[in-house]
């Protein structure tokens, strides 16, 4: 048997969602462990730039219900309205709570609200249900994620949360009745496997955009939690919906936050034309991300792209002046100089739509409980298992996420999950007997990479997979392209059996980690292609050339993908909010 530690709750992931949940549990005096494959402040949340959205009304009049309308519309009506209501209603208190924890928000200068939290306009934000631009995104310069993640980590230090830094979770432990009893994890430094037993487990493993070749995401965003869920027989929801952020630096992928446009920047094509007004007359450069990304793709397609190869457009900031750029967008200036070789104070930044965010994920209810169609209906909670953050699909983002809503999702649902776990732990006081088999399967995953194999190598397979998704599942999709992509991905999957690593060391074997990550990326890639092929409509970030219209009669529903036999299932969108009237689907324009 492998060494074991026992906790009340275990949280897999030390990003914003995991740390917010951990804090809730630690403050309730429960024994909680946070596992993270990197030191927590290295988690991807640290990269978030622009801000966190809440209708504080510090700059313009605002209301949570307007935020809710924008989010429902932004989701192209695929978001669940009960979850969206919960998130928007709780947004202001969640942000105030972060401020009380010590988050160094930028502050407003002068005027009635001097000294209050600084807010900036972001895409898709409106006052009075589609009226004037709202100013709703709360920011700490252009490093809001850094501020948020460090603050949450610091609060967890104060609450004496137990951290298992550089522990890589391999698989969930599940008993015959379907209860989740913890995880098996690899201590990276020693190469030793541990059983981390807990009556409640939260997956907060973040996104998986590394299935694509060009992405704004950290290299560690490999969808490990999604792989764990799939291997436990659980479904993934809405995996066809990947957000392409309009403004990533070509090739390297580094993000130029939407705050660039929020602060007054705009996009130009080869002719120097500000083209967004042609696509979104009202919101222009601050239209929703899916809309702006498609506009850029069309400009490039029409031969109006910039640069030698005409493969990008440009983001103009120089008219804002050096002082404003230095105060509000210092990190952007830095990244642009380093990675695009361009100082935005003087020159426009080259940008192109780049994969950024996974709207889909592990299906959960409002309490963060993972739900699956098991026996009695489509949304039966899996006992002992929770998910929150980018790896979860609750679903507040539907077919297209609005900027600033992810950080909000992390703290609102991280907290909700933590609260429900406390309740669950009270009702389930005693640990259940551990099954033997759950642990063995995880250990076999490790042992597999200790054996000599064939000629295939992990980096090569990963790159092939990334190229397939980039080419066959881009901003625009088409049946024949997707089918071809699935065929190619099959071939890559088959080659995995022949793959081996050369490094046989136990201590800090990063080759083995990359192999284990690839085993998570591949099924996520598969889920993406299969769901995208099935959805014969265009909605939000999923744009089908062969089905250009949204089709509410057939497709106002969530996709559910199961690993066994590539099975697909569907469940209805929750159109009924908690207390207010539903927003009926209507045509979406900006």
């Amino acid at each position: 048997m492998i060494p074991k530690r026992t906790f009340d709750a275990v949280i897999v992931g030390g990003g914003g969602a995991g740390l917010r949940a951990a804090l809730q549990l630690a403050r309730a005096d429960l024994k909680v462990a946070v596992l993270s494959k990197v030191f927590p402040t290295r988690s991807h949340t640290v990269s978030a730039q622009g801000g966190i959205t809440a209708a504080l009304g510090n700059v313009t009049e605002d209301h949570w219900h307007w935020h809710m309308y924008d989010t429902v519309k932004g989701s192209d009506y695929l978001g669940d309205q009960d979850a969206i209501e919960l998130m928007c209603r709780n947004a202001a208190s969640a942000v105030y709570e972060l401020e009380h924890m010590g988050l160094p928000f930028s502050r407003l200068e002068g005027g009635r609200n001097a000294g209050r939290i600084y807010q900036r306009p972001f895409g898709g934000q409106s006052q009075r249900y589609g009226g004037e631009q709202a100013v709703r995104t709360c920011a700490a310069a252009d490093r809001t994620g850094h501020a948020l993640l460090h603050t949450l980590y610091q609060r967890n230090i104060a609450a004496r949360t137990q951290f298992f830094d550089e522990f890589f979770a391999l698989d969930l432990v599940r008993d015959a009745e379907g209860y989740i009893l913890g995880v098996v994890a690899l201590e990276i430094e020693t190469g030793e496997a541990w059983l981390i037993e807990a009556r409640a487990t939260l997956l907060a493993t973040g996104g998986a955009a590394r299935v694509f070749r060009h992405s704004t995401n950290a290299l560690i965003n490999t969808g490990d939690g999604l792989g764990m869920a799939l291997r436990a027989g659980l479904p993934l929801e809405d995996m066809e919906f990947w957000q392409f952020h309009p403004t990533g630096i070509p090739e390297v992928g580094c993000l130029m936050t939407e705050a660039c446009r929020g602060e007054g920047g705009y996009l130009v094509n080869r002719q120097g034309e500000r083209f967004m007004p042609r696509y979104a007359p009202h919101a222009q450069d601050l239209a929703s991300r899916d809309v702006v990304s498609r506009a850029i793709a069309e400009e490039i397609e029409a031969g109006r792209g910039c640069g030698e190869h005409g493969d990008h457009v440009c983001l103009k900031l120089d008219h804002l002046g050096a002082a404003l750029i230095q105060e509000r967008l210092p990190g952007i200036r830095d990244l642009s100089i380093r990675f695009a070789g361009v100082d935005p104070v003087h020159e426009a930044i080259p940008v192109t739509p780049t994969v950024h965010y996974m709207m889909g994920g592990i299906p959960t209810n409002l309490h963060g409980q993972v739900v699956a169609p098991v026996r009695y209906g489509p949304e039966e909670p899996v006992p002992g298992l929770y998910a929150a953050g980018e790896c979860a699909c609750v679903s507040v983002h539907g077919a297209n996420r609005l900027g600033g809503n992810s950080l909000l999702d992390l703290v609102v649902f991280g907290r909700a999950a933590g609260e429900h776990m406390i309740e669950y732990l009270r009702e389930n006081r005693y640990p259940r007997a551990l099954p033997r088999s759950g642990v063995e399967r995880a250990l076999e995953r490790l042992a597999r990479w200790d054996r000599p194999g064939g000629d295939e190598r992990v980096p090569r397979l990963r790159e092939d997979m990334q190229r397939i998704l980039q080419r066959h599942c881009g901003v625009y999709r088409r049946e024949d392209l997707l089918e071809e992509g699935i065929g190619k991905l099959d071939a890559v999957g088959a080659r995995l059996a022949d793959a081996a690593i050369e490094d046989r060391g136990r201590l800090f074997n990063t080759a083995r980690l990359e192999a284990l990550e690839l085993e998570n990326l591949l099924p996520v890639a598969r889920a993406t292609l299969v769901c995208a092929l099935a959805r014969a409509e265009s909605r939000g970030a999923h744009a089908r050339e062969d089905y250009p219209a949204r089709d509410d009669d057939h497709w106002l529903r969530h996709s559910l993908y199961f690993l066994a036999g590539d099975q697909l299932d569907y469940k209805p969108v929750r159109l009924k909010p908690l207390t207010v009237e539903p927003f009926q689907p209507k045509e979406r324009s900006y």
Binding site: R42, Y96, T510
Partner: protein, 234 residues
Amino acid sequence: MARLRLRIYRYDPESGAAPVMRDYELEIDPRGRMVLDALLALKELDDSLAFRRSCREGVCGSDGMNINGVNALACVTPLEGLRQPIEIRPLPRLPVVRDLIVDMSQFFQHYRAVKPYLINLDPEPENERPQSAAERAELDGLWECILCGCCTTACPSFWWNPDRFLGPAALLQACRFITDSRDQATDERLDYLEDRYRLFRCHGIMNCVEVCPKGLNPTAAIGKIKKLLVKRAL
């Protein structure tokens, strides 16, 4: 394409062999590429090469290492202009776990020791606690630290007293909370720092300032704390 020459510190404690500097050659177009790109390309050829990385854009603090004698983040250090062979070693004076990976426990222990969290025992107001833009501006240059360890492991005072001198990164953090207009524990924080070793081992050598990849100035932060201590003593 150009041939790039690198010399990399290799150490595998399991092998029983002493650390060595190994030479590598790599076909890579260095234009616009970073040291991390070269390491990632090398890892495709030799998967036993171990180093940490995450964000690949200089914001997470994973890949602090010593490049041609200077502590830096591999992901934001351009290959162009580096003297060849490019010598890459782990951050100095911390125990090496393997290759370029160091054990940062001591570094994080010092971080935790300064109570790096806001202390304010007043009841929480309904909305945000007010803070003027000017008060908030005082925090600029203090809150952006990514805990990469480049500064502390470049500090001679830390080399001599790693267990007793807190080092520039932890002291910068201490200053961040002392400076925050919302924090109420200044006295308690100063009490802890008023110590021959924890703070006063800093002799203003400024190595830390030179290497900080975020352009922060721990020396100034340390100076500020010293000034506050003097003021308090009067």
